[in-house]
């Protein structure tokens, strides 16, 4: 029986770009850039893109297609195929299933807020909120943090309904498979996303000076807040680390989702040009479209003091500041809807990719049908979503984000970079990368992939471990009342990781028994 395949090259590129394009492109990038040297930030940003992002993109595309040739779509099988002499490498590959499952569990909930706010924008639900504080009260009420006295929401019912709709949309798309589900959805969702973003960018860039009483609060000066270079920033290590982190998170490398998508390619399908195209599509969305929306608009309406307060608070920017600003424009309800719908579409194209590794693992290694795999995935992740929804204010989401994204991504990317350049071997890697390739990658990348990218990743791993992670691991950043919730979440995540490892062990044991 044949496996699923992508229908077209453009389809797989749009799916990978869709996986990479998410909330971070529109909310995280502009804040990080503005807070780390403005235009000067783009120098470490581009260097990180060339030395870290692009090589990782090519690594994941290549090993994904390679593993797919052996019938594996997920990291345990692919890593084992690349290093068969090592009995333990497949267990490191578990991170490539664990991370996406954990992220999916909370990402779909955040995504459902966007669907809810799209509806609220059209219906005028938050139209009465005319200050940062009142908009924040609205958001807290929606999240169930406002208590019984919240004037907008009595409880979590509304949020839960939108979560159910979002969850069903995600699992349904995945259940239709690679070609009829993910590819078909991304083929209309990505162009739609670009069009909606472009409409919003044109609207923001033509705002001029919205408040005549404050002529300094103009869109041009808002762009200046983001782009005026602060050369002294280049001397600060923190800025270089922020640039590397932004590149790392924005490209969806290190999740294990790109290698699953690439595993459905044929041996002669190009990966070099496709990887580059997906990466540049993401960069265009982030730098050109994402950089022209939130910061210039917020500057024009809040001024330099107001924007410094909110620039680095991602959720506040998206759910408090932007709806407030969009309300003040002509046709504010329509633009508010477009803003949240844009982010919702970006979120769905990312979350469906997060579902794929676990579903593909069950299909490949347990011979389940896609429908059976989707039902099991849906039940498990639905259960995992519940603590995120009901204990959102107790640090559950942050804990899952820490292990799924911050730790999981860097560790997984470091393993696959070393595996690719050193264990698989640079000769094999280079040949595999160029098989069926439509472009010739410059020879300098043999050196970069083998030495620079792994060293870069190890440096990030070590610095983040001592600088940020130890405090989180030791619960120093957690309030005493939230510690029980965080510890239970941590134990739950550990249990999930052990469970997935046992599944991998069972698969390989059964295989060994079959082969005698």
């Amino acid at each position: 029986m044949a496996r699923q395949r992508w229908n077209s090259k453009l389809g797989v590129i749009l799916a990978v770009a869709g996986s990479a394009v998410g909330l971070g492109n529109f909310l995280r990038f502009p804040g990080v850039a503005a807070g780390n040297g403005g235009g000067a930030f783009m120098i470490p940003y581009f260097i990180s893109f060339l030395l870290l992002g692009l090589p990782l993109m090519w690594i994941e595309w290549t090993i994904g297609r390679f593993g797919g040739g052996f019938g594996h779509s997920t990291a345990p099988g692919i890593f084992h195929t690349m290093w068969q002499k090592n009995r333990f490498i497949k267990y490191f590959g578990v991170i490539g299933i664990f991370g996406p499952v954990v992220i999916f569990a909370y990402y779909t909930y955040v995504e459902s807020w966007l669907l809810g706010y799209s509806f609220f924008a059209l219906s005028g639900h938050y139209a009465g909120c005319d200050s940062q504080q009142s908009m924040k009260t609205f958001l807290e009420g929606y999240q169930g943090l406002g208590g019984p006295g919240n004037p907008h929401f009595a409880g979590l019912t509304t949020a839960y309904v939108f979560f159910l709709i979002t969850f069903v949309i995600n699992v349904s798309i995945v259940s239709f498979g690679i070609r009829r589900g993910i590819e078909r959805f991304c083929k209309w969702a990505l162009p739609l996303l670009f069009i909606v973003a472009a409409v919003l960018v044109v609207r923001v860039l033509t705002l001029g000076t919205p408040d005549a009483a404050h002529p300094e609060r103009s869109i041009a000066n808002g762009l200046g807040f983001l782009w005026n270079p602060d050369w002294s920033a280049l001397l600060r290590g923190r800025v270089w680390l922020a640039a590397a982190g932004q590149i790392f998170f924005t490209l969806s490398c290190g999740f294990g989702v790109i290698l699953t998508y690439a595993s459905y390619l044929r041996r002669q399908d190009d990966v070099a040009l496709s990887g580059l195209t997906a990466a540049t599509a993401n960069e265009m969305t982030e730098v050109v479209l994402g950089g022209s929306l939130v910061i210039p608009a917020a500057f024009a309406f809040l001024g330099p003091a107001g924007i410094e307060e909110v620039a680095l608070k991602v959720f506040d920017l998206g759910f408090v500041t932007m709806p407030l600003i969009l309300q003040k424009m002509a046709f504010g309800q329509a633009f508010g809807f477009l803003w949240f719908f844009l982010l919702f579409v970006a979120g769905v194209t990312s979350s469906i990719s997060l579902a794929m590794p676990a579903v593909a693992f069950m299909e490949d290694e347990f011979n389940l049908t896609r429908r059976e795999a989707c039902v099991i995935f849906g039940i498990v992740t639905f259960v995992l979503c519940q603590p995120v929804i009901f204990f959102y204010g107790n640090g559950v989401l942050d804990e899952m984000d820490f292990w799924g994204v911050s730790v999981g991504l860097v560790v997984f990317a470091t393993i696959e970079a070393i595996l690719f350049g050193w264990i698989f071997g640079m000769e094999n890697a280079w040949t595999e990368l160029h098989t069926g390739s439509d472009i010739r990658i410059p020879g300098i990348y043999r050196f970069i992939i083998k030495f620079i990218t792994p060293l870069f990743l190890i440096a990030i791993l070590v610095i983040w471990f001592f600088q940020d992670w130890t405090d989180v691991i030791l619960l120093k950043t957690t309030t005493p009342e939230n510690r029980p919730f965080v510890m239970i979440t941590r134990l739950g995540l550990l249990g999930l990781f052990v469970f997935l490892s046992v599944m991998v062990w069972i698969v390989w044991r059964r295989r060994a028994q079959r082969e005698g």
């Binding site: 581009f46 068969q84 782009w227 005026n228 265009m284």
Partner: protein, 53 residues
């Protein structure tokens, strides 16, 4: 916005848009056929399993 800001913004946009357009043109004009024709709902071993490295 200062002159340096405009320069950084336009150069950054130029590099990214230029690279994106180049990639899309190459992707859409390359002669490679679509990835596959044989979609199948059921899982199973691949038709073209290759020898191990």
């Amino acid at each position: 916005m200062k002159l340096g800001g405009w320069i950084f913004m336009l150069i950054s946009w130029g590099i990214i848009i230029g690279l994106f357009v180049y990639c899309m043109v190459r992707t859409l004009t390359s002669g490679n056929p679509p990835s596959g024709e044989d979609e199948e709902d059921q899982p199973g071993p691949r038709p073209e399993i290759r020898k191990d490295v």
